[in-house]
Symmetry: C2
Subunit: 116 residues, 2 copies
């Protein structure tokens, strides 16, 4: 191993500090759930109040099936929960970190005038 700016000892120290592959994968999967505008829309609306699939579909302008599929992703990540009310399924947020991430995302894009 031929390092540029660090030596082997420092490299070993660093590797100790950084999440191992599997954890890195988990963190990436978790964050990736927030990286889609449809899912983000769902989360922003559910942050305001619990909603059923149909209302989420109308609010976001997405087809019901698309919403259902994305709700499944959110459910699997345990970011949302739901209960049935008659034939409706009423979804709500189920994770304390969601609001933080949404706010950071909003804050960042508000600050940033991005181009390349």
């Amino acid at each position: 191993m031929d390092w540029c700016r660090i030596d082997q000892t420092r490299a070993d120290e660093l590797k100790e500090k950084i999440p191992v592959d599997e954890e890195m994968q988990d963190v990436a999967e978790f964050i990736r759930v927030f990286g889609d505008p449809t899912r983000l829309g769902i989360l922003f609306y559910l942050r305001e109040l619990p909603l059923c699939v149909h209302d989420l579909s109308l609010l976001t302008g997405m087809q019901q099936t698309a919403i259902s599929h994305q709700l499944k992703v959110l459910r699997q990540m345990r970011l949302v929960k739901y209960h049935k009310e008659g034939r409706m399924a009423v979804y709500s947020l189920n994770d304390s970190h969601i609001s933080q991430i949404l706010d950071i995302g909003l804050k960042h894009t508000a600050e940033e005038v991005r181009n390349d």
Copy 2:
């Protein structure tokens, strides 16, 4: 429009509160950058100290070209900056929100025992 659990007035209020399509897209793009294990690895290492491409390649175990491509993505989102030192390019973090997001991701996956 036939809502289930809200009326038209409430729906209009909600839509006012939620980011418009373009902003939603921007937020999603921003967060999505964190949703890849290779980029996450780079960010975790750069959080510790500035590093050159070669060292990042050795630390992460990824090919140099893969690192360069991902650094370009991070550069375009202005999450990292770099300066040249001779033939090296030394990268460092360039956004105050990065650490927060990394920590939330870590915290979440630490708490969560996730499956379906």
